[in-house]
């Protein structure tokens, strides 16, 4: 129930393409869904996040689509660049504003954007 399932495991796109990474969850108490970007040897960096009261959120070239009824959310990267090559993790948390809000992470997607 606490799991977040992420796919695909790896993804190769050409520069300018639109990679899409998908995540699914079971716990309906989750109410916060961030995406993190991680470069080798670095910590996860918060990219964009969404709460279930909206179906889409866009920040720059990054868009989250959220489907509450299907319990799925996805990350789209518009006009992808070689510098976007990294591992992307989705995550989820529950109890907004609570004392814990631990993040449950997906298994990660290794994205390679070819020039």
């Amino acid at each position: 129930q606490q799991q977040v399932k992420q796919s695909p495991q790896s993804l190769i796109v050409q520069k300018g393409g639109i990679p899409i990474i998908n995540c699914a969850y079971e716990n309906t108490a989750f109410d916060y869904f961030p995406w993190y970007q991680q470069f080798p040897g670095k910590g996860p960096a918060l990219l964009i996040a969404i709460r279930p009261d909206v179906s889409e959120k866009k920040e720059g070239r990054f868009t989250i689509s959220f489907n509450k009824s299907a319990k799925q959310f996805s990350l789209h990267i518009m006009d992808s660049q070689p510098g976007d090559s990294a591992t992307y993790f989705c995550a989820a948390a529950e109890n907004y504003g609570g004392a814990t809000n631990k993040l449950i992470f997906g298994t990660g997607t290794l994205l390679a954007v070819q020039p």
Binding site: K42, G43, F89, A93, G97, A99, T100, N101
Partner: protein, 114 residues
């Protein structure tokens, strides 16, 4: 821009030894976390800390682990007697407070237990 810092960046220790991993969270943040990431795997929650006490811990966080906020700036993770399977990247994260869910991660400490 404020950031979470961690020291050391890499720690090598022998099995059975104690290690202390150090973190300096973002200064006005009130919630602190430790996560770990075994090489090539996902990031896993270890423990959350608020108001000078543990608010939640995972099954991984057994009696060999402890956390402490010894002063107003540092947040430490101690592993009392390290095992080979403790080898991982350990990330500290912090969150400003109840108004936000956003957790900001440090660069991590790579712990290698030999």
């Amino acid at each position: 821009e404020p950031e979470v810092t961690q020291t050391p960046s890499h720690q090598v220790t022998q099995m059975g030894q104690e290690v202390i991993l150090r973190c300096v969270p973002i200064s006005n943040h009130l919630y602190f976390y430790w996560y770990r990431q075994i090489l090539g795997q996902k990031v896993e929650f270890l423990v959350s800390f608020y108001n000078n006490e543990i608010s939640e811990k995972s099954e991984i966080f057994d009696d060999q682990f402890s956390v402490e906020r010894p002063d107003g700036s540092n947040f430490t993770l101690k592993i009392r007697s390290t095992k080979l399977e403790d080898s991982a990247m350990y990330f500290c994260a912090s969150r400003v407070g109840t108004i936000s869910y956003e957790q900001y991660f440090g660069p991590g400490t790579r712990l290698t237990v030999t």
